[in-house]
Amino acid sequence: MKYQIIIIIFILSFTSTLLLAQKYTISGYITDNNTGEYLIGAVVRVKNSPDIGYGTNNYGFYSLSLAKGSYELEFSYIGHLKESVNITLTANQRINVTLKEAPNKLQEIVITSNNDNANVRQSQMGLQKLNVEVAGKLPVIFGEKDILKILQLFPGIKSGGDGQSGFTVRGGTIDQNLILLDDAPIYNASHLLGFFSTFNSDAIKDVSLYKGTAPAQFGGRLSSVVDVKMNDGNNQNFDVKGGIGLISSKINIEGPIQKGKSSFLFSGRRTYVDAFLKLFDRFKNNSLSFYDLNAKLNFKTSDRDRLFISGYLGRDALELNKRMGINWGNKTGTVRWNHLFNSKLFSNSSLIYSDYDYKIDIEDPHNEFSILSSIRDWNLKQTFQYFPDSKNEWKLGYNIIYHTITPGLINFPSATTMSNEEPRNGMESAIFATNNWQATNKLKINYGIRFSSFMVLGGSDYYNLNADKNVIDTIQQAGPIENYLNIEPRLSLSYSISESCSFKMAYTRNTQNLHLITNSVSGSPTDKWIMDSNNVKPEISDQVSLGYFRNFDDNIYEFSVESYYKSMQNQIDYKDNADIQVPVIETQLLYGKGRAYGLEVLLRKSKGKFTGWLGYSLSRSEKQIEGINKNHWYPARQDRTHDISIVGMYEISNRWNVSAIWVYRTGNAISFPSGKYMLEGQTVWLYTERNGYRMPAYHRLDLGATYKLKEHKLFNSELSFSLFNAYGRENPYIITFERSGNDPNQTVAIQTSLFRWVPSISWNFTLK
């Protein structure tokens, strides 16, 4: 009944917008003058009524409707010169605008918001946008700039730690983040044990991270959506840039196929650690490497149609002693077609393929086998964007994903394939509608709804388990095993108290049908993805958030406080003493509820010679699962009380830029022994409660500097220096408990830490 009312309100509000008085529409694309890139989130302002600002969508398109009359329009985008156009509106008009780069871009670096006070004015809450350029200014390990690492410096987005690949958002787990590269999900966004992300920042245009508050066109994960858009490729000029670093090098080539109409982009990155390894007897049988390839083609086939073809291929390989090899990687492909039906209706259709797999090869004289796991998606997504008038912006669409998960196919070359479990298939579909509504001059409301369904498809084995989690029988049927339906309402509103101050609130329900079964906080390549089944139900979260946003000093300083409470259902955890290698992993899992709440504070200076920010979050994340911790609430492993980031960048001169990052985090919750006893003549540990202890706190200072080298007639270039962990803090990676080496009568805790003082240097160039 409740849902029926919601649906009726939706239909009414949608049709009512159609009945409004006829106005004329101005629409078009905003692009960069130099590269032809579509500018995402560029702003169109009607000067005569300065309260109205419109942003371009992910394809650089805008549309707005105004009554007959004369107007001055102003077009703007960060790092670009403003452009004004005077029009007399008597009919619908197409105005395509190209914006020139500001002459001295360095002094104009704005980290996130495109509009001076966009953070205050937009109704969206819990959104972190990132301009890729800032990535180049900050110190990073091995000199490799990385957008995911920089996002982790903002409140509510928490890193797993050194040598750990994942990140967690607002008390969620690492698998609750949907990471999209040109709409294709990336299931493992890390390279080389988490020191790099799969995103080569040279090829990236725009990054948005929604902290569980994403509008209805996104779905499928509880905690966050990271929406990464690749560059389209320069359709004006050839452009070559690259970098040579300590352990890897990269190159980015882009240019027009037909000037102004079509373009290509190719970007590659590869490490060369393995080449060094070959030089030494001791390590010649080991190897460790990764590479990334990004490619994109972009065609303007008519005034109304654009076609984008983009792909990503990345792979890690680790070989030990020529006996054991692990390699993993992602492959994605996206074909997108933008079509403009009329000045008010924009359509985007995407066909997306995504494949993540990992393979372990074991070779010894008696056993030779390989284990292959993979997750493969075919994904069709259709979005219509409708601009009925100057106050509403609708998005309607659907999304169908066909998932195939191979959970560990064991292959003996000598025998036929032996499979523990056959691949499982699932169909995830959703329809959605969402509207961005400027209700009054002060009130903006974004409301939407998403109907999602997950069909567990038959054709492979499913298991019925008894109360003790033992398999009692096997379900083998061709038809669907289960169909889970969910309705996910979303609401986000902002009320402007003044030009520089607003209150916001949001409510979001999210569901999740794919789950990562991992035995660590932050993931390893051998973690197991599973789908909903007859035993595993969709995870559901309901998040309520409140925020206060305030800018000071002509928008030079931005300040925000956000708080949230999130309640989660069907959360998954391992039972006590879980065996993570059993073929039917469901026998090791228990289900219950979770809750997460916290407060996030951000103070940022985004203009001037000195820029930077200070982020703080205070949070808690807990679970209650029958059969764990005597059925009491216990801290989730990723629970962290305090998390502080301080980031500063200073432009000393036109040539020198320096930067520093300091982070502090409470240690993760963990189970440590509270005592010991003797068994079979050995000391074994006595445990009391689940995750009742804390790892020691993590803190670290990184320093960086970039130096612009003298312009060469062929290229511009700069040197980047960085020092990771400048004061050499030994941050804990793992803590183990063992007999003391010095005194066998004592037991001690041993902490393993990774990097101290990692300096690096890299040279980045752009060909003229």
Partner: protein, 273 residues
């Protein structure tokens, strides 16, 4: 020059390969109330049946585990309806009776009385498999263990030993390896299982650190599933990547830790080549 460059790169790689740096740290671990730990063994080999009773300690105490003397211990063969009382002899806290020799297929009941508390358990001795031989499959020259090269270990450190059975197994089998090197018990609780469905062709080997001429004695003890589950739980608490360390459910009543295991024992010895 060459050496120093080599060293630099090797250090760099060592870091990368996650050997990192290790140090002892102080962690404030809670005190725990002392609990009784009962290890009950019924073996099919004469003189090997025993019950050992001790107490738990706090983490930071010396590992001199207090033994519990003066308990009243009986083991009943419920198949034969025969009761044996076990008594403390030379070793304090260890209770034995030379007449108690386990028989495969029989079910045994353990009763331990300490002060006015009674702890009890039941265990059935499985039939198990007959071990034919153990064969050394040397992995000399591979350096380090199966995982990440330690960087300091010498070639040939890890020896692979594979057991062969006489009778192919048709049911799920649970067992435990107890390994001695040169008569010293190795610090490892190694529970294993062979599922009926896996067939007898694939026998998972043992990996043991040893050098040439070491005498390796392998005792393969077949136990029932609940004992395996307990030992497996204990073994899962070791290592850096244990998913969810916690105390496994013992098969003894009244809150005592430990196990009561009726097991068959088969010993094989090899000398490392």
């Amino acid at each position: 020059m060459k050496t120093s460059r080599q060293n630099t790169i090797i250090i760099f790689l060592a870091l990368l390969l996650l050997t990192g740096c290790e140090k002892e740290i102080n962690i404030d671990l809670n005190k725990s109330n002392p609990k009784f730990v009962i290890e009950g063994d019924v073996s099919n080999i004469a003189g090997n049946s025993k019950v050992r009773i001790s107490k738990t300690l706090d983490f930071d105490e010396n590992v001199l585990y207090p033994f519990v003397s003066g308990a009243f211990v009986t083991i009943t063969d419920s198949t034969l309806n025969r009761i044996d009382t076990l008594t403390e002899k030379t070793i304090p806290g260890t209770y034995t009776n030379p007449d108690l020799i386990g028989i495969t297929g029989h079910t045994y009941n353990l009763i331990v009385k300490i002060d006015d508390q009674t702890y009890s358990s039941t265990s059935t001795m499985p039939i198990g498999l007959t071990l034919d031989s153990i064969i050394q499959e040397n992995l000399a020259g591979t350096g380090g263990d199966l995982g990440i090269p330690e960087g300091t270990s010498q070639p040939g450190d890890i020896i692979q030993i594979r057991p062969y059975y006489i009778n192919p197994h048709t049911a799920d089998e649970y067992y435990q390896y107890v390994v001695k090197r040169n008569d010293r018990l190795l610090n490892n609780i190694i529970p294993r299982k062979e599922m009926a469905s896996s067939g007898s062709s694939f026998i998972f080997p043992l990996f043991i650190k040893a050098k040439k001429n070491d005498v390796i004695q392998v005792d393969m003890q077949f136990v029932e599933k609940k004992v395996y589950d307990y030992l497996y739980g204990i073994s899962q608490n070791y290592g850096q990547y244990s998913a969810t360390p916690s105390n496994p459910e013992p098969n003894i009543s009244n809150g005592a830790l430990g196990y009561f295991k009726a097991h068959t024992s088969q010993n094989k010895t090899i000398i490392i080549r």
